[in-house]
């Protein structure tokens, strides 16, 4: 099912949670809504589900305007971070719930419900646990019950709100892989909310980066990581270093002296962004210069925290130093990023 979010605006009281957000989701896509808390990603998900209604704008399911449809009519599968399982029902009854509450004209016969529920429980690898109660399951198992329950109604779209947020790191990784395979097998249009960029980049076909109620960028993991379109995306996704620079006719000037870097950005005070690993050390020629404040060892490299202000107000950045380079706390380092962006 294609989903079109068309200039959605949502206000809670006077507080605007979403400003004119538009997004087209293709049928079968796996989309991540990524952003810090308060960015509006969960609000957007709830609007698609029909748990909230927009202040302005439209939400289309295919050609049908669903903006004012009730949550029951929308037929969406929703999975909450804390599962929201019905604790007084067994795994089987939880999964069967969506089919059993249907009106008599659309409710499948008992045997059919049983067959479908068992099939779903099998699909989420919980066969044999039909009779257990949620309290008797682990976190990862509960989340899979929640997913099976959402799938039981044959939803037009699957919406997951921080689906792995309450799980520990190991289970999270396993379940992430499992969800990707699950999605590839079932082909449901899926939206999930996360604040974990690794999760978003690894899992999604396209990532929607949100901040302060706006969409900052939509793109594949490569687009988001390698070609960030804004300062926010650059600093939110992946490690980044940032220094204040001045642009004069395409030249990047740092503290009054040219760096030899060229840009298409317009004249004025800007910031240069780069990844800590995207630098070359320079022994001569124009470069950024700074003193090493501290160093820490990662697996294959060292991370040096550098004060590029050199006494005139601290400008701290972190860069990656190859292991062979002689450097210690207090030594001067000259470097240039070979990939960067100016915002």
């Amino acid at each position: 099912m294609d989903i079109r979010i068309d200039k959605i605006r949502k206000e809670f009281g006077d507080f605007p949670a979403l400003h004119d957000v538009s997004l087209n989701i293709r049928s079968g896509e796996l989309i991540a809504l990524l952003g810090p808390s308060g960015s509006g990603k969960t609000t957007l998900l709830r609007l698609v589900a029909g748990l909230e209604y927009p202040t302005q704008g439209r939400i289309l399911f295919g050609e049908e305007d669903a903006s004012w449809k009730s949550v029951q009519e929308r037929n969406v599968g929703f999975v909450f971070q804390h599962y929201a399982l019905f604790k007084h029902m067994t795994v089987f009854d939880n999964v069967a719930f969506g089919l059993r509450v249907r009106g008599s004209e659309t409710r499948p016969p008992k045997a059919e419900i049983r067959r479908r529920v068992e099939e779903l429980i099998d699909m989420v690898q919980l066969s044999g646990m039909e009779g257990r109660y949620p309290g008797q399951l682990s976190g990862g198992q509960r989340q899979r019950v929640a997913l099976a329950r959402a799938m039981a109604i044959e939803p037009r779209v699957l919406l997951l709100d921080e689906p792995f947020g309450a799980l520990d790191a190991k289970v999270r990784k396993d379940l992430r892989k499992w969800l990707r395979e699950f999605h590839d097998r079932t082909g449901h249009t899926t939206l999930f909310v996360t604040h974990d960029q690794e999760e978003a980049l690894e899992l999604a076909d396209r990532v929607v980066v949100m901040s302060q109620g706006k969409i900052e960028q939509v793109g594949s993991a490569d687009d988001i990581y390698d070609r960030p379109q804004s300062a926010f995306v650059f600093s939110f996704v992946g490690d980044s270093a940032r220094l204040p620079v001045t642009i004069t006719d395409g030249d990047v000037i740092f503290r009054g002296s040219g760096t030899g870097l060229r840009t298409k950005a317009a004249n004025g005070a800007r910031h240069i962004f780069f990844r800590p690993g995207d630098i070359q050390l320079k022994s001569e020629g124009p470069a950024f210069e700074g003193r090493i404040l501290s160093m820490r060892r990662l697996a294959g490299a060292r991370i040096a925290e550098i004060d590029a202000g050199l006494g005139e107000g601290a400008e701290r950045v972190e860069i990656e130093l190859p292991l062979g380079v002689p450097a210690e706390q207090g030594s001067l380092i000259r470097f240039l990023p070979h990939r960067f962006a100016i915002f």
Partner: protein, 263 residues
């Protein structure tokens, strides 16, 4: 240590007095006891006491649950004051509640004057007893259901809606079942309280034998006649019936705990 202490307390305060009561009543002998219970006036009083308590506890189960829901889910001006008011029947001398209710519900009272033309008489009838028992038993269900309701996540209801359940189905299949053990506890407490209630009832009941005379009042009457054996016998019968009822409720409760209480 804690076990020993609580057992000692239970023995001193509950078991020994009750045993003394049973012993006293036994002095009448089985035939005497039988005769006493079958005495039409005693029988009528027992019936009134238990039926009105049952009706009041049922009403409290419904309205107490509703009130707990409102207190947990709605945010309105004065909610905290409303919340504090719930406990008032616990704090007030029950006689005060009885006198106040009588004043309000008597045929010339604030509310009674509008009910009288409709042919509804509250004061001096079993209906009045029920009203008084609802008032004194009201906090029980509210206070037992409220904490359980607070634990129930709103997300559970939202998920139910996304699965296609209408509001009615969500309330009856999702929200209410986990509350049943707590509602039963509150119901049992309100019932027990209602059976033994004296102070608030005697003012509003009118105490007409065979019509609105409750068993505890009959005990007092017997005491005033220095008929100690008769008084203890009625008490013993009430005790036996109450015990049986609480036993049954407890059974239902532990069943419902198993059935609905998984959390």
């Amino acid at each position: 240590m804690a076990l020993g202490l609580s057992l000692t307390m239970l023995t001193l305060i509950v078991l020994i007095p009750l045993a003394a009561l049973a012993l006293r009543a036994a002095a009448l002998g089985p035939a005497g006891l039988y005769e006493l219970v079958l005495d039409p006036r005693v029988f009528a009083a027992l019936k009134i006491s238990f039926l009105t308590a049952l009706a009041a506890a049922l009403a409290n189960a419904v309205f107490g649950t509703l009130t707990a829901w409102v207190l947990v889910r709605y945010d309105f001006y004065g909610r905290r004051i409303f919340d504090a008011l719930i406990d008032l029947p616990f704090a007030m001398p029950t006689a005060v509640a009885g006198i106040a209710l009588t004043a309000v519900y008597s045929p010339k009272g604030l509310i009674g004057q509008y009910l009288a033309p409709l042919g509804i008489q509250v004061a001096y009838t079993p209906l009045g007893i029920i009203v008084a028992l609802i008032a004194v038993g009201f906090p029980f269900v509210v206070r037992t259901v409220q904490p359980v309701l607070e634990e129930i996540n709103r997300e559970t209801e939202e998920v139910s809606a996304t699965l296609g359940a209408n509001r009615f189905q969500t309330i009856f299949f999702v929200v209410l079942p986990p509350l049943i053990p707590a509602i039963l506890t509150g119901f049992a407490l309100a019932l027990a309280r209602g059976v033994g209630e004296y102070g608030s009832v005697i003012f509003i009941a009118g105490n007409l034998p065979f019509k609105s005379e409750i068993a505890p009042l009959l005990i007092v009457i017997k005491l005033e006649e220095f008929n100690y054996a008769g008084a203890t016998a009625i008490a013993a019968v009430m005790l036996a019936i109450s015990f049986l009822m609480l036993f049954v409720i407890n059974g239902i409760q532990s069943w419902s705990q198993k059935r609905f209480g998984h959390g």
